[in-house]
Subunit: 301 residues, 2 copies
Amino acid sequence: MNEVLIVGSVALDSIETPSGRIDNALGGAATYGSVAASLFAPVHLVGVVGDDFPQEHVEFLRSRKVDLAGLQTVEGGSTFRWKGDYNGDLNQANTHETHLGVFEHFDPQLPDHYKDANFVFLANINPELQLKTLEQVRSPQLVLCDTMNLWINIAREHVLEVFKRVNIAVLNDGEARMLTEDDNIIRAGRALQKLGPQHVIVKKGEHGAVMFSDGEIFVAPSFPLEEVVDPTGAGDSFAGSLIGYLARTGDLSRENLRRAVVHGSVVASSTVQDFSLASLKQLTHDEVERRYNAVQAMSSF
Amino acid sequence: MNEVLIVGSVALDSIETPSGRIDNALGGAATYGSVAASLFAPVHLVGVVGDDFPQEHVEFLRSRKVDLAGLQTVEGGSTFRWKGDYNGDLNQANTHETHLGVFEHFDPQLPDHYKDANFVFLANINPELQLKTLEQVRSPQLVLCDTMNLWINIAREHVLEVFKRVNIAVLNDGEARMLTEDDNIIRAGRALQKLGPQHVIVKKGEHGAVMFSDGEIFVAPSFPLEEVVDPTGAGDSFAGSLIGYLARTGDLSRENLRRAVVHGSVVASSTVQDFSLASLKQLTHDEVERRYNAVQAMSSF
Protein backbone atom coordinates (compact mmCIF):
# COMPACT_ATOMS: atom_id res chain seq x y z
CA MET A 1 0.00 0.00 0.00
CA ASN A 2 1.10 3.57 -0.61
CA GLU A 3 2.53 5.30 2.43
CA VAL A 4 2.11 8.93 3.44
CA LEU A 5 5.03 11.02 4.65
CA ILE A 6 3.95 13.93 6.82
CA VAL A 7 6.11 16.79 8.05
CA GLY A 8 4.79 19.50 10.34
CA SER A 9 4.46 20.67 13.89
CA VAL A 10 4.00 18.36 16.86
CA ALA A 11 2.77 20.52 19.69
CA LEU A 12 1.25 20.95 23.10
CA ASP A 13 -1.77 23.25 22.86
CA SER A 14 -3.58 25.33 25.45
CA ILE A 15 -6.95 26.32 24.07
CA GLU A 16 -10.02 28.19 25.22
CA THR A 17 -13.32 28.03 23.32
CA PRO A 18 -16.91 28.85 24.30
CA SER A 19 -17.20 25.15 25.33
CA GLY A 20 -14.33 25.17 27.83
CA ARG A 21 -10.57 24.97 27.96
CA ILE A 22 -7.63 22.56 27.99
CA ASP A 23 -3.95 23.00 28.85
CA ASN A 24 -0.90 21.42 27.21
CA ALA A 25 -2.96 18.93 25.24
CA LEU A 26 -1.65 17.00 22.26
CA GLY A 27 -1.73 19.12 19.11
CA GLY A 28 0.23 20.20 16.04
CA ALA A 29 -0.43 20.02 12.32
CA ALA A 30 1.60 16.83 11.79
CA THR A 31 -0.13 15.17 14.74
CA TYR A 32 -3.67 15.86 13.53
CA GLY A 33 -2.61 15.12 9.95
CA SER A 34 -0.98 11.80 10.86
CA VAL A 35 -3.81 10.51 12.98
CA ALA A 36 -6.33 11.47 10.28
CA ALA A 37 -4.23 9.93 7.48
CA SER A 38 -3.70 6.78 9.54
CA LEU A 39 -7.41 6.02 9.19
CA PHE A 40 -6.57 5.21 5.57
CA ALA A 41 -2.87 4.44 5.10
CA PRO A 42 0.46 3.92 6.91
CA VAL A 43 2.13 7.18 7.96
CA HIS A 44 5.77 8.27 8.36
CA LEU A 45 5.94 11.33 10.58
CA VAL A 46 8.70 13.94 10.41
CA GLY A 47 8.92 16.38 13.30
CA VAL A 48 10.61 17.33 16.51
CA VAL A 49 9.71 17.40 20.21
CA GLY A 50 11.54 18.19 23.43
CA ASP A 51 12.10 15.72 26.22
CA ASP A 52 9.07 17.27 27.92
CA PHE A 53 6.80 15.56 25.34
CA PRO A 54 4.65 13.06 27.28
CA GLN A 55 5.39 9.42 26.56
CA GLU A 56 1.65 8.64 26.41
CA HIS A 57 1.38 10.69 23.19
CA VAL A 58 4.27 8.74 21.65
CA GLU A 59 2.53 5.51 22.58
CA PHE A 60 -0.78 6.69 21.20
CA LEU A 61 0.80 7.63 17.85
CA ARG A 62 2.55 4.23 17.72
CA SER A 63 -0.76 2.51 18.44
CA ARG A 64 -2.07 4.18 15.27
CA LYS A 65 0.84 2.67 13.32
CA VAL A 66 2.34 6.12 12.81
CA ASP A 67 6.05 5.53 12.11
CA LEU A 68 8.02 7.82 14.43
CA ALA A 69 11.51 7.06 13.12
CA GLY A 70 11.52 10.65 11.77
CA LEU A 71 10.41 12.25 15.03
CA GLN A 72 13.48 13.77 16.67
CA THR A 73 13.57 14.21 20.42
CA VAL A 74 15.88 17.00 21.58
CA GLU A 75 17.31 16.39 25.04
CA GLY A 76 16.77 19.42 27.23
CA GLY A 77 14.56 21.03 24.57
CA SER A 78 10.98 22.25 24.84
CA THR A 79 8.17 20.96 22.65
CA PHE A 80 6.48 23.61 20.48
CA ARG A 81 3.63 25.15 22.45
CA TRP A 82 0.68 27.19 21.23
CA LYS A 83 -1.85 29.03 23.37
CA GLY A 84 -4.96 30.60 21.92
CA ASP A 85 -8.71 31.05 22.01
CA TYR A 86 -11.68 31.01 19.67
CA ASN A 87 -13.92 33.19 21.77
CA GLY A 88 -16.15 35.32 19.61
CA ASP A 89 -15.67 33.50 16.31
CA LEU A 90 -15.12 29.76 15.97
CA ASN A 91 -13.62 30.35 12.52
CA GLN A 92 -10.81 32.55 13.81
CA ALA A 93 -8.15 31.60 16.36
CA ASN A 94 -6.59 34.34 18.48
CA THR A 95 -3.01 33.46 19.34
CA HIS A 96 -1.94 34.38 22.87
CA GLU A 97 1.49 32.74 22.96
CA THR A 98 3.72 30.75 20.61
CA HIS A 99 6.84 29.05 21.95
CA LEU A 100 8.79 27.61 19.02
CA GLY A 101 11.08 25.67 21.36
CA VAL A 102 12.84 22.85 19.52
CA PHE A 103 11.33 24.00 16.21
CA GLU A 104 13.62 27.01 16.16
CA HIS A 105 16.64 24.94 15.11
CA PHE A 106 14.86 22.01 13.53
CA ASP A 107 16.64 20.45 10.57
CA PRO A 108 14.48 17.65 9.17
CA GLN A 109 16.54 14.55 8.36
CA LEU A 110 14.56 11.77 6.74
CA PRO A 111 15.34 8.18 7.74
CA ASP A 112 16.30 6.28 4.63
CA HIS A 113 13.12 4.21 4.50
CA TYR A 114 11.07 7.48 4.39
CA LYS A 115 12.69 8.65 1.15
CA ASP A 116 10.66 6.40 -1.11
CA ALA A 117 7.28 7.68 0.13
CA ASN A 118 4.86 8.18 -2.75
CA PHE A 119 2.51 10.57 -0.98
CA VAL A 120 3.85 13.61 0.84
CA PHE A 121 1.89 16.00 3.05
CA LEU A 122 3.78 19.20 3.85
CA ALA A 123 1.65 20.18 6.84
CA ASN A 124 1.69 23.61 8.41
CA ILE A 125 5.24 24.57 9.40
CA ASN A 126 7.87 27.05 8.22
CA PRO A 127 7.86 26.68 4.40
CA GLU A 128 11.66 26.37 4.34
CA LEU A 129 11.31 23.20 6.41
CA GLN A 130 8.62 21.98 4.00
CA LEU A 131 11.08 22.46 1.12
CA LYS A 132 13.98 20.81 2.99
CA THR A 133 11.80 17.79 3.63
CA LEU A 134 10.51 17.57 0.09
CA GLU A 135 14.04 17.69 -1.34
CA GLN A 136 14.86 14.44 0.46
CA VAL A 137 11.99 12.48 -1.03
CA ARG A 138 13.19 10.63 -4.14
CA SER A 139 10.21 10.61 -6.49
CA PRO A 140 6.92 11.47 -4.84
CA GLN A 141 3.80 10.70 -6.82
CA LEU A 142 1.69 13.34 -5.08
CA VAL A 143 2.68 16.28 -2.89
CA LEU A 144 0.14 18.27 -0.90
CA CYS A 145 0.89 21.39 1.13
CA ASP A 146 -0.92 23.40 3.77
CA THR A 147 0.15 26.75 5.20
CA MET A 148 -1.09 29.49 7.54
CA ASN A 149 -1.43 33.26 7.71
CA LEU A 150 1.82 33.60 9.70
CA TRP A 151 3.96 32.19 6.85
CA ILE A 152 2.08 34.17 4.21
CA ASN A 153 2.95 37.28 6.23
CA ILE A 154 6.58 36.63 7.05
CA ALA A 155 7.73 34.09 4.43
CA ARG A 156 5.57 34.77 1.39
CA GLU A 157 8.31 33.99 -1.16
CA HIS A 158 8.96 30.59 0.40
CA VAL A 159 5.23 29.81 0.48
CA LEU A 160 5.11 30.60 -3.25
CA GLU A 161 8.19 28.41 -3.81
CA VAL A 162 6.35 25.53 -2.10
CA PHE A 163 3.28 26.18 -4.26
CA LYS A 164 5.42 25.68 -7.38
CA ARG A 165 6.42 22.20 -6.24
CA VAL A 166 3.14 20.67 -5.10
CA ASN A 167 0.27 18.93 -6.83
CA ILE A 168 -2.32 20.10 -4.34
CA ALA A 169 -2.31 23.23 -2.17
CA VAL A 170 -4.78 23.47 0.69
CA LEU A 171 -5.54 26.70 2.51
CA ASN A 172 -8.47 28.38 4.17
CA ASP A 173 -10.53 31.23 2.73
CA GLY A 174 -8.82 33.91 4.80
CA GLU A 175 -5.39 32.69 3.72
CA ALA A 176 -6.48 32.51 0.07
CA ARG A 177 -7.63 36.13 0.27
CA MET A 178 -4.41 37.17 2.00
CA LEU A 179 -2.10 35.43 -0.46
CA THR A 180 -3.89 36.79 -3.54
CA GLU A 181 -5.05 40.10 -2.07
CA ASP A 182 -8.43 39.33 -3.64
CA ASP A 183 -11.65 39.16 -1.61
CA ASN A 184 -13.50 36.99 -4.12
CA ILE A 185 -12.80 33.32 -3.36
CA ILE A 186 -13.49 32.15 -6.91
CA ARG A 187 -11.02 34.62 -8.43
CA ALA A 188 -8.55 33.93 -5.59
CA GLY A 189 -8.72 30.14 -6.06
CA ARG A 190 -8.19 30.43 -9.81
CA ALA A 191 -5.25 32.79 -9.30
CA LEU A 192 -3.64 30.42 -6.77
CA GLN A 193 -4.01 27.51 -9.15
CA LYS A 194 -1.97 29.47 -11.72
CA LEU A 195 0.94 29.67 -9.24
CA GLY A 196 1.75 26.01 -9.77
CA PRO A 197 -0.50 23.46 -8.07
CA GLN A 198 -2.72 21.33 -10.33
CA HIS A 199 -5.39 21.63 -7.65
CA VAL A 200 -6.05 24.32 -5.05
CA ILE A 201 -8.49 23.54 -2.26
CA VAL A 202 -9.96 26.46 -0.33
CA LYS A 203 -11.46 25.39 3.00
CA LYS A 204 -14.45 27.38 4.22
CA GLY A 205 -15.08 25.74 7.62
CA GLU A 206 -18.77 25.00 8.13
CA HIS A 207 -19.42 26.07 4.52
CA GLY A 208 -17.38 23.22 3.04
CA ALA A 209 -14.56 23.60 0.55
CA VAL A 210 -13.96 24.53 -3.07
CA MET A 211 -11.41 22.74 -5.24
CA PHE A 212 -10.00 24.55 -8.28
CA SER A 213 -8.49 22.45 -11.06
CA ASP A 214 -7.76 23.30 -14.69
CA GLY A 215 -11.07 24.52 -16.10
CA GLU A 216 -13.06 22.90 -13.33
CA ILE A 217 -14.43 23.73 -9.91
CA PHE A 218 -15.66 21.28 -7.26
CA VAL A 219 -17.95 22.69 -4.60
CA ALA A 220 -17.83 20.33 -1.59
CA PRO A 221 -20.33 20.42 1.26
CA SER A 222 -19.39 20.00 4.92
CA PHE A 223 -20.97 17.57 7.36
CA PRO A 224 -23.47 19.73 9.31
CA LEU A 225 -22.80 19.96 13.04
CA GLU A 226 -25.02 21.25 15.82
CA GLU A 227 -22.00 21.98 17.96
CA VAL A 228 -18.37 22.81 17.39
CA VAL A 229 -16.31 22.34 20.57
CA ASP A 230 -12.78 23.11 19.35
CA PRO A 231 -11.91 23.97 15.73
CA THR A 232 -8.16 23.31 16.26
CA GLY A 233 -6.77 20.77 13.82
CA ALA A 234 -9.79 20.78 11.50
CA GLY A 235 -7.69 21.86 8.52
CA ASP A 236 -4.84 19.50 9.37
CA SER A 237 -7.12 16.50 9.70
CA PHE A 238 -8.96 17.56 6.51
CA ALA A 239 -5.71 17.47 4.53
CA GLY A 240 -4.38 14.38 6.33
CA SER A 241 -7.44 12.28 5.61
CA LEU A 242 -7.63 13.63 2.04
CA ILE A 243 -4.10 12.46 1.22
CA GLY A 244 -4.59 9.26 3.24
CA TYR A 245 -7.63 8.46 1.14
CA LEU A 246 -5.70 9.11 -2.08
CA ALA A 247 -2.82 6.92 -0.88
CA ARG A 248 -5.17 4.09 0.08
CA THR A 249 -7.07 4.15 -3.21
CA GLY A 250 -4.05 4.98 -5.39
CA ASP A 251 -6.50 6.69 -7.73
CA LEU A 252 -5.68 10.27 -8.74
CA SER A 253 -8.61 10.74 -11.12
CA ARG A 254 -10.70 13.88 -10.71
CA GLU A 255 -13.66 11.83 -9.52
CA ASN A 256 -11.57 10.24 -6.79
CA LEU A 257 -10.07 13.60 -5.82
CA ARG A 258 -13.63 14.78 -5.17
CA ARG A 259 -14.28 11.77 -2.98
CA ALA A 260 -11.00 12.47 -1.15
CA VAL A 261 -12.08 16.07 -0.45
CA VAL A 262 -15.38 14.89 1.04
CA HIS A 263 -13.56 12.30 3.15
CA GLY A 264 -11.35 15.13 4.40
CA SER A 265 -14.43 17.14 5.20
CA VAL A 266 -16.12 14.41 7.25
CA VAL A 267 -12.96 13.57 9.21
CA ALA A 268 -12.55 17.28 10.02
CA SER A 269 -16.18 17.35 11.19
CA SER A 270 -15.29 14.76 13.81
CA THR A 271 -12.10 16.52 14.91
CA VAL A 272 -13.97 19.66 15.95
CA GLN A 273 -16.49 17.81 18.11
CA ASP A 274 -14.15 17.66 21.09
CA PHE A 275 -10.95 19.27 22.37
CA SER A 276 -7.54 18.29 21.05
CA LEU A 277 -7.57 14.82 19.45
CA ALA A 278 -10.21 13.39 21.81
CA SER A 279 -12.82 12.94 19.08
CA LEU A 280 -10.46 12.14 16.20
CA LYS A 281 -8.88 9.38 18.34
CA GLN A 282 -12.28 7.67 18.64
CA LEU A 283 -13.23 8.05 14.99
CA THR A 284 -13.62 4.74 13.18
CA HIS A 285 -13.50 3.99 9.51
CA ASP A 286 -17.15 2.90 9.71
CA GLU A 287 -18.19 6.26 11.13
CA VAL A 288 -16.26 8.03 8.35
CA GLU A 289 -18.18 6.03 5.77
CA ARG A 290 -21.48 6.68 7.54
CA ARG A 291 -20.87 10.45 7.47
CA TYR A 292 -19.65 10.31 3.87
CA ASN A 293 -22.87 8.60 2.81
CA ALA A 294 -24.91 11.05 4.87
CA VAL A 295 -23.24 14.06 3.22
CA GLN A 296 -23.84 12.52 -0.18
CA ALA A 297 -27.53 12.02 0.62
CA MET A 298 -27.79 15.55 2.01
CA SER A 299 -26.28 17.23 -1.02
CA SER A 300 -27.53 15.30 -4.04
CA PHE A 301 -30.18 16.77 -6.31
CA MET B 1 -50.69 25.96 -15.23
CA ASN B 2 -50.38 26.89 -11.56
CA GLU B 3 -50.14 30.60 -10.93
CA VAL B 4 -48.05 32.36 -8.30
CA LEU B 5 -49.43 35.19 -6.18
CA ILE B 6 -46.73 37.48 -4.83
CA VAL B 7 -47.18 40.24 -2.27
CA GLY B 8 -44.33 42.49 -1.19
CA SER B 9 -42.61 45.79 -1.74
CA VAL B 10 -42.32 47.53 -5.08
CA ALA B 11 -39.62 50.11 -4.70
CA LEU B 12 -37.19 52.58 -6.14
CA ASP B 13 -33.69 51.84 -4.84
CA SER B 14 -30.58 53.99 -4.59
CA ILE B 15 -27.62 51.71 -4.07
CA GLU B 16 -23.87 52.04 -3.75
CA THR B 17 -21.56 49.02 -3.99
CA PRO B 18 -17.82 48.67 -4.66
CA SER B 19 -18.77 48.38 -8.36
CA GLY B 20 -20.59 51.71 -8.60
CA ARG B 21 -23.95 53.27 -7.81
CA ILE B 22 -27.47 53.76 -9.14
CA ASP B 23 -30.27 56.11 -8.11
CA ASN B 24 -34.00 55.45 -8.00
CA ALA B 25 -33.75 52.20 -9.91
CA LEU B 26 -36.46 49.56 -10.01
CA GLY B 27 -36.40 47.41 -6.88
CA GLY B 28 -38.52 45.85 -4.17
CA ALA B 29 -39.01 42.28 -2.97
CA ALA B 30 -42.20 41.71 -4.99
CA THR B 31 -40.56 43.10 -8.11
CA TYR B 32 -37.50 40.84 -7.97
CA GLY B 33 -39.69 37.93 -6.85
CA SER B 34 -42.20 38.41 -9.67
CA VAL B 35 -39.66 38.76 -12.44
CA ALA B 36 -37.82 35.67 -11.15
CA ALA B 37 -41.02 33.64 -10.79
CA SER B 38 -42.19 34.74 -14.24
CA LEU B 39 -39.33 32.73 -15.75
CA PHE B 40 -41.36 29.67 -14.75
CA ALA B 41 -45.04 30.53 -14.22
CA PRO B 42 -47.66 33.28 -14.53
CA VAL B 43 -47.54 35.80 -11.68
CA HIS B 44 -50.18 37.91 -9.89
CA LEU B 45 -48.50 40.81 -8.11
CA VAL B 46 -49.95 42.52 -5.02
CA GLY B 47 -48.39 45.82 -4.03
CA VAL B 48 -48.63 49.56 -4.07
CA VAL B 49 -46.81 52.45 -5.77
CA GLY B 50 -47.21 56.20 -5.92
CA ASP B 51 -47.92 58.13 -9.08
CA ASP B 52 -44.18 58.84 -9.24
CA PHE B 53 -43.60 55.22 -10.28
CA PRO B 54 -42.18 55.32 -13.82
CA GLN B 55 -44.48 53.94 -16.50
CA GLU B 56 -41.56 52.10 -18.12
CA HIS B 57 -41.39 49.78 -15.09
CA VAL B 58 -45.10 49.02 -15.38
CA GLU B 59 -44.62 48.22 -19.03
CA PHE B 60 -41.62 46.03 -18.33
CA LEU B 61 -43.54 44.00 -15.71
CA ARG B 62 -46.44 43.61 -18.15
CA SER B 63 -44.03 42.43 -20.82
CA ARG B 64 -43.08 39.63 -18.43
CA LYS B 65 -46.74 38.66 -18.15
CA VAL B 66 -46.84 39.80 -14.53
CA ASP B 67 -50.51 40.50 -13.76
CA LEU B 68 -50.68 43.98 -12.20
CA ALA B 69 -54.40 44.00 -11.36
CA GLY B 70 -53.37 43.88 -7.70
CA LEU B 71 -50.86 46.72 -7.94
CA GLN B 72 -52.51 49.81 -6.47
CA THR B 73 -51.39 53.25 -7.60
CA VAL B 74 -51.98 55.99 -5.03
CA GLU B 75 -52.53 59.42 -6.62
CA GLY B 76 -50.25 61.97 -5.01
CA GLY B 77 -48.43 59.24 -3.11
CA SER B 78 -44.73 58.37 -3.14
CA THR B 79 -43.37 54.98 -4.08
CA PHE B 80 -41.43 53.18 -1.34
CA ARG B 81 -37.77 54.19 -1.57
CA TRP B 82 -34.70 52.54 -0.09
CA LYS B 83 -31.19 53.92 -0.06
CA GLY B 84 -28.22 51.89 1.08
CA ASP B 85 -24.73 50.58 0.42
CA TYR B 86 -22.78 47.35 0.54
CA ASN B 87 -19.37 48.90 0.94
CA GLY B 88 -17.14 46.74 3.06
CA ASP B 89 -19.18 43.56 3.01
CA LEU B 90 -21.26 42.39 0.05
CA ASN B 91 -23.28 40.16 2.38
CA GLN B 92 -24.50 43.04 4.53
CA ALA B 93 -26.53 46.05 3.36
CA ASN B 94 -26.23 49.29 5.31
CA THR B 95 -29.48 51.22 5.15
CA HIS B 96 -29.09 54.99 4.78
CA GLU B 97 -32.72 55.96 4.25
CA THR B 98 -36.11 54.25 4.11
CA HIS B 99 -39.17 56.17 2.89
CA LEU B 100 -42.23 53.98 3.37
CA GLY B 101 -44.39 56.38 1.33
CA VAL B 102 -47.55 54.67 0.11
CA PHE B 103 -46.67 51.52 2.05
CA GLU B 104 -47.47 53.25 5.31
CA HIS B 105 -51.21 52.96 4.75
CA PHE B 106 -51.27 50.03 2.36
CA ASP B 107 -54.25 47.72 2.70
CA PRO B 108 -53.85 44.82 0.28
CA GLN B 109 -57.10 44.03 -1.57
CA LEU B 110 -56.94 41.02 -3.83
CA PRO B 111 -58.75 41.17 -7.17
CA ASP B 112 -61.21 38.29 -7.28
CA HIS B 113 -59.27 36.31 -9.88
CA TYR B 114 -56.21 36.33 -7.54
CA LYS B 115 -58.03 34.50 -4.75
CA ASP B 116 -57.76 31.07 -6.31
CA ALA B 117 -53.98 31.20 -6.62
CA ASN B 118 -52.41 27.86 -5.65
CA PHE B 119 -48.96 29.15 -4.94
CA VAL B 120 -48.42 32.14 -2.67
CA PHE B 121 -45.17 33.98 -2.03
CA LEU B 122 -45.31 36.35 0.93
CA ALA B 123 -42.26 38.38 -0.01
CA ASN B 124 -40.49 40.76 2.33
CA ILE B 125 -42.95 43.30 3.71
CA ASN B 126 -44.60 44.05 7.09
CA PRO B 127 -45.76 40.62 8.32
CA GLU B 128 -49.24 42.00 9.10
CA LEU B 129 -49.63 42.73 5.39
CA GLN B 130 -48.41 39.22 4.59
CA LEU B 131 -51.15 37.84 6.87
CA LYS B 132 -53.83 40.14 5.43
CA THR B 133 -52.96 38.94 1.95
CA LEU B 134 -52.86 35.29 2.88
CA GLU B 135 -56.31 35.49 4.50
CA GLN B 136 -57.84 36.47 1.17
CA VAL B 137 -56.49 33.44 -0.70
CA ARG B 138 -59.12 30.67 -0.69
CA SER B 139 -57.15 27.42 -0.56
CA PRO B 140 -53.49 27.80 -1.39
CA GLN B 141 -51.59 24.62 -2.07
CA LEU B 142 -48.23 26.04 -1.05
CA VAL B 143 -47.33 29.20 0.87
CA LEU B 144 -43.77 30.49 1.12
CA CYS B 145 -42.65 33.46 3.19
CA ASP B 146 -39.57 35.61 3.37
CA THR B 147 -38.77 38.25 5.98
CA MET B 148 -35.97 40.58 7.05
CA ASN B 149 -34.10 41.67 10.18
CA LEU B 150 -36.27 44.80 10.52
CA TRP B 151 -39.47 42.77 11.06
CA ILE B 152 -37.73 40.30 13.37
CA ASN B 153 -36.71 43.31 15.46
CA ILE B 154 -39.95 45.27 15.55
CA ALA B 155 -42.67 42.72 14.73
CA ARG B 156 -41.33 39.41 15.99
CA GLU B 157 -44.73 38.06 17.09
CA HIS B 158 -46.24 38.69 13.67
CA VAL B 159 -43.28 37.05 11.97
CA LEU B 160 -43.86 33.99 14.16
CA GLU B 161 -47.58 34.10 13.29
CA VAL B 162 -46.66 34.02 9.59
CA PHE B 163 -44.28 31.11 10.23
CA LYS B 164 -47.21 29.10 11.64
CA ARG B 165 -49.16 29.49 8.42
CA VAL B 166 -46.59 28.73 5.74
CA ASN B 167 -45.22 25.56 4.16
CA ILE B 168 -41.82 27.04 3.46
CA ALA B 169 -40.01 29.83 5.29
CA VAL B 170 -36.97 31.41 3.65
CA LEU B 171 -34.53 33.61 5.53
CA ASN B 172 -30.83 34.38 5.52
CA ASP B 173 -28.29 33.12 8.02
CA GLY B 174 -28.16 36.37 9.97
CA GLU B 175 -31.95 36.45 10.27
CA ALA B 176 -32.04 32.79 11.33
CA ARG B 177 -29.53 33.55 14.09
CA MET B 178 -31.48 36.63 15.13
CA LEU B 179 -34.85 34.91 15.27
CA THR B 180 -33.58 31.91 17.24
CA GLU B 181 -30.83 33.69 19.20
CA ASP B 182 -28.61 30.77 18.27
CA ASP B 183 -25.31 31.19 16.41
CA ASN B 184 -25.24 27.64 15.06
CA ILE B 185 -27.09 27.52 11.74
CA ILE B 186 -27.94 23.81 12.00
CA ARG B 187 -29.53 24.20 15.45
CA ALA B 188 -31.20 27.45 14.33
CA GLY B 189 -32.68 25.88 11.20
CA ARG B 190 -34.04 22.92 13.13
CA ALA B 191 -35.53 25.22 15.76
CA LEU B 192 -37.22 27.37 13.09
CA GLN B 193 -38.69 24.33 11.43
CA LYS B 194 -40.38 23.46 14.73
CA LEU B 195 -42.18 26.83 14.67
CA GLY B 196 -44.50 25.64 11.93
CA PRO B 197 -43.07 25.49 8.41
CA GLN B 198 -42.60 22.03 6.89
CA HIS B 199 -39.42 23.38 5.33
CA VAL B 200 -37.07 26.15 6.42
CA ILE B 201 -34.50 27.38 3.95
CA VAL B 202 -31.53 29.32 5.30
CA LYS B 203 -29.74 31.32 2.59
CA LYS B 204 -25.99 31.78 3.01
CA GLY B 205 -25.18 33.99 0.02
CA GLU B 206 -22.10 32.74 -1.85
CA HIS B 207 -22.07 29.65 0.40
CA GLY B 208 -25.40 28.37 -0.91
CA ALA B 209 -28.40 27.44 1.20
CA VAL B 210 -29.52 24.78 3.67
CA MET B 211 -33.07 23.39 3.68
CA PHE B 212 -34.39 21.84 6.89
CA SER B 213 -37.28 19.39 6.61
CA ASP B 214 -38.58 16.78 9.04
CA GLY B 215 -35.58 14.58 9.79
CA GLU B 216 -33.73 15.73 6.70
CA ILE B 217 -31.27 18.41 5.65
CA PHE B 218 -30.46 19.51 2.11
CA VAL B 219 -27.17 21.34 1.63
CA ALA B 220 -27.42 23.32 -1.63
CA PRO B 221 -24.42 24.84 -3.41
CA SER B 222 -24.43 28.26 -5.03
CA PHE B 223 -23.35 29.07 -8.57
CA PRO B 224 -19.77 30.38 -8.17
CA LEU B 225 -19.26 33.95 -9.33
CA GLU B 226 -16.04 35.87 -9.96
CA GLU B 227 -17.83 39.16 -9.39
CA VAL B 228 -20.85 40.34 -7.45
CA VAL B 229 -21.96 43.79 -8.61
CA ASP B 230 -25.08 44.36 -6.49
CA PRO B 231 -26.48 41.80 -4.02
CA THR B 232 -29.87 43.57 -3.80
CA GLY B 233 -32.75 41.27 -4.65
CA ALA B 234 -30.73 38.06 -4.49
CA GLY B 235 -32.95 36.60 -1.76
CA ASP B 236 -36.16 37.80 -3.40
CA SER B 237 -35.27 36.30 -6.75
CA PHE B 238 -34.09 33.10 -5.02
CA ALA B 239 -37.52 32.66 -3.40
CA GLY B 240 -39.43 33.85 -6.47
CA SER B 241 -37.78 31.40 -8.83
CA LEU B 242 -38.04 28.63 -6.24
CA ILE B 243 -41.81 28.96 -5.97
CA GLY B 244 -42.12 29.62 -9.70
CA TYR B 245 -40.34 26.33 -10.37
CA LEU B 246 -42.64 24.50 -7.95
CA ALA B 247 -45.71 26.06 -9.59
CA ARG B 248 -44.51 25.15 -13.06
CA THR B 249 -43.70 21.55 -12.18
CA GLY B 250 -46.61 21.08 -9.74
CA ASP B 251 -44.42 18.56 -7.95
CA LEU B 252 -43.99 19.03 -4.20
CA SER B 253 -41.88 15.93 -3.60
CA ARG B 254 -38.69 16.38 -1.58
CA GLU B 255 -36.58 15.63 -4.65
CA ASN B 256 -38.32 18.37 -6.60
CA LEU B 257 -38.03 20.79 -3.68
CA ARG B 258 -34.27 20.27 -3.86
CA ARG B 259 -34.30 21.05 -7.57
CA ALA B 260 -36.40 24.15 -6.83
CA VAL B 261 -33.84 25.38 -4.28
CA VAL B 262 -31.02 25.01 -6.80
CA HIS B 263 -33.07 26.83 -9.45
CA GLY B 264 -33.54 29.61 -6.90
CA SER B 265 -29.83 29.67 -6.31
CA VAL B 266 -28.90 29.98 -9.97
CA VAL B 267 -31.46 32.71 -10.68
CA ALA B 268 -30.12 34.65 -7.66
CA SER B 269 -26.61 34.24 -9.06
CA SER B 270 -27.71 36.12 -12.16
CA THR B 271 -29.50 38.86 -10.22
CA VAL B 272 -26.32 39.93 -8.41
CA GLN B 273 -24.27 40.27 -11.58
CA ASP B 274 -25.58 43.75 -12.32
CA PHE B 275 -27.39 46.61 -10.58
CA SER B 276 -31.14 46.54 -9.99
CA LEU B 277 -32.92 44.13 -12.36
CA ALA B 278 -30.53 44.72 -15.27
CA SER B 279 -29.16 41.18 -15.26
CA LEU B 280 -32.33 39.38 -14.14
CA LYS B 281 -34.22 41.08 -16.99
CA GLN B 282 -31.87 39.48 -19.52
CA LEU B 283 -31.86 36.04 -17.93
CA THR B 284 -33.33 33.37 -20.18
CA HIS B 285 -34.72 29.99 -19.29
CA ASP B 286 -31.91 28.41 -21.30
CA GLU B 287 -29.26 30.18 -19.23
CA VAL B 288 -31.01 29.04 -16.04
CA GLU B 289 -30.82 25.44 -17.23
CA ARG B 290 -27.19 25.87 -18.28
CA ARG B 291 -26.24 27.15 -14.82
CA TYR B 292 -28.34 24.46 -13.13
CA ASN B 293 -26.48 21.75 -15.03
CA ALA B 294 -23.15 23.44 -14.30
CA VAL B 295 -23.86 23.54 -10.55
CA GLN B 296 -24.87 19.90 -10.64
CA ALA B 297 -21.62 18.98 -12.40
CA MET B 298 -19.61 21.12 -9.97
CA SER B 299 -21.08 19.57 -6.85
CA SER B 300 -21.58 15.89 -7.62
CA PHE B 301 -19.25 13.28 -6.12
